[in-house]
């Protein structure tokens, strides 16, 4: 089944629950709203012709600098082991009350990347038990992969010539604006 056929099949199976589909550089991509995610994921997993039984990854993207609505996006990559095809689900998430339902009841692998989504972007995962930070320390302020979180150099710790090294630390945060493009 080519990705074009795959898209048509997904469109016919889930017509009213998805916003649009597209072929992005040859990959099948489906856009949908957060509230429809559990139902769409379940259909994709359980339909015999689609059978997306493998959750490859969940990523967050912050489109703050793109003048685009909604601001956040959670991107789910699914594979089918039996049919050898893949689909990418792009779920747009609003900035206020950023939240997306969990799919951990379908894939036991989901809690880890979902917790990362919460940790790095501050997107609340509805229905996920044990929702806490995973990579950053629990008392960390802010969500590092948001675009309004500055990229700065960490202060030097544990060094015998700390005073000398302190001079090397830049105060000015390195952002996309002050890198010469």
């Amino acid at each position: 089944m080519t990705n074009q056929d795959l898209i048509e099949k997904i469109q016919s199976a889930l017509g009213d629950q998805i916003q649009k589909t597209e072929l992005s550089l040859g990959d099948a991509v489906v856009f949908l709203e957060p509230k429809n995610l559990p139902q769409v994921a379940q259909t994709l997993k359980e339909d015999a012709d689609l059978a997306f039984d493998y959750l490859s990854d969940i990523r967050g993207v912050d489109y703050l600098e793109w003048d685009r609505d909604p601001r956040f996006e959670a991107v789910y990559e699914l594979h089918s082991i039996d049919h050898n095809h893949s689909v990418r689900l792009r779920v747009g998430i609003d900035e206020d009350e950023a939240s997306v339902p969990t799919i951990s009841h379908l894939w036991k692998a989901a809690p880890y990347p979902e917790r990362e989504l919460y940790d790095m972007f501050g997107i609340h995962i509805e229905g996920l038990e044990n929702l806490k930070r995973i990579i950053m320390p629990e008392d960390w302020d802010g969500h590092p992969l948001r675009k309004d979180y500055p990229l700065i150099t960490e202060e030097v710790a544990f060094s015998f010539n700390r005073d000398f090294k302190k001079e090397l630390v830049k105060d000015k945060p390195e952002t996309r604006e002050n890198i010469w493009l």
């Binding site: 990854d57 912050d62 050898n84 990579i135 590092p144």
Partner: protein, 399 residues
Amino acid sequence: MAVSEQGLLERNKETMTLNMGPQHPSTHGVFRVILEMDGELVNTSEPEIGYLHTGIEKTSEAKRYSHVIPMTDRLDYLNPPGNNLAFCLTTEKLLEIDIPKRAQYIRVMMCELARIGSHLLWLGTHALDIGAMTVFLYAWREREMILDLNELISGVRMMTSFIRVGGVAQDAQPEWLKGVRDFVDYLPDKVDEYERLLTNNPIWMDRTQGVGVISREEAINYSLSGPCLRASGANWDFRKKRPYSSYEEFRFDIPVYRNGDVFDRYKVRIDEIRQSREIIVQALKNLPEGPYKAEDSKVSLPPRETLKTSMEALIHHFKLSAEGFKVPRGEAYVPVEGPRGEVGFYIVSDGSVIPYRVKLRAPSYMAIPGMCKMMEGCFIADVVAVIGSVDIVMGEVDR
């Protein structure tokens, strides 16, 4: 313990919490797991990660594409060419450029050498964890040769950064090709030697067979990938399923085993070393002549000699060095098969010379919940065998 009415010893229902790591030698990095023990048996395990977080994904959002490549080496530090390849293939997909055949073959050889090296390191440390000391010394002896080959071609022993967007950094020199040929001639006897030490060794079999079992359905549901998934009976390898970088031109088998225990994961990796050797032999035999990087001067540097004669080449050289190349707006993901499983970068580009978002799909990170599932019901002594058999690399877990 209390004595019941029948005079039998009744087990106390209290459990003990045991902390393992983050500096435990068998966790291969800074990985901490909190085990809830019922006597000798593990009830539940709570992993704790993040000790090695370096913010590579955030840093990538402020660096040009070519500057991200050396950072990808440091993610899975046992498979630098595989990470470079995953990053470059995704960028090349966004750029929509073709890579010359010779470059693709050199990439395949680098990746397969890295796969052998990674499996050798895994074999040595895993056997050492379980108590077989000799294999460690033998496996590291052979891995040293791979590091020497890396040094010969790229000047660096581990973090090669040799695969670049558009091709590879330099052409394969005859000395390197000769070194690789000598290595593949030398390797098969040594793999037999490891197998003689371990495969039919009763102690090894006792420690590994039936330990840390995970079924095919569960392995898929837990998103295990690579050797762990294939040891559970799923035939899933991106080199066969979605051939990239000319893998469709090589003849090789995908080892698949059914039991899903520590022993089968060991067998899969041993067989993969042999298959990787087959791929390198074929690549050496059929290595095409031609350029080693794309001749698109917008992406790869023009040849050094042309700088003295061609104005255009000089301009391209300056623009590329000073500014970098612009990648069209869009997003892409190209999975490749690393030694630990599916590796891939999800790159979002806003049309500038800097990636807007880089996300690594790290097989070790996704394998941790599955690994904890394997530990449930194990003896405490087998926890070390299970952690070793999954082969996690903390560099890519914490990123």
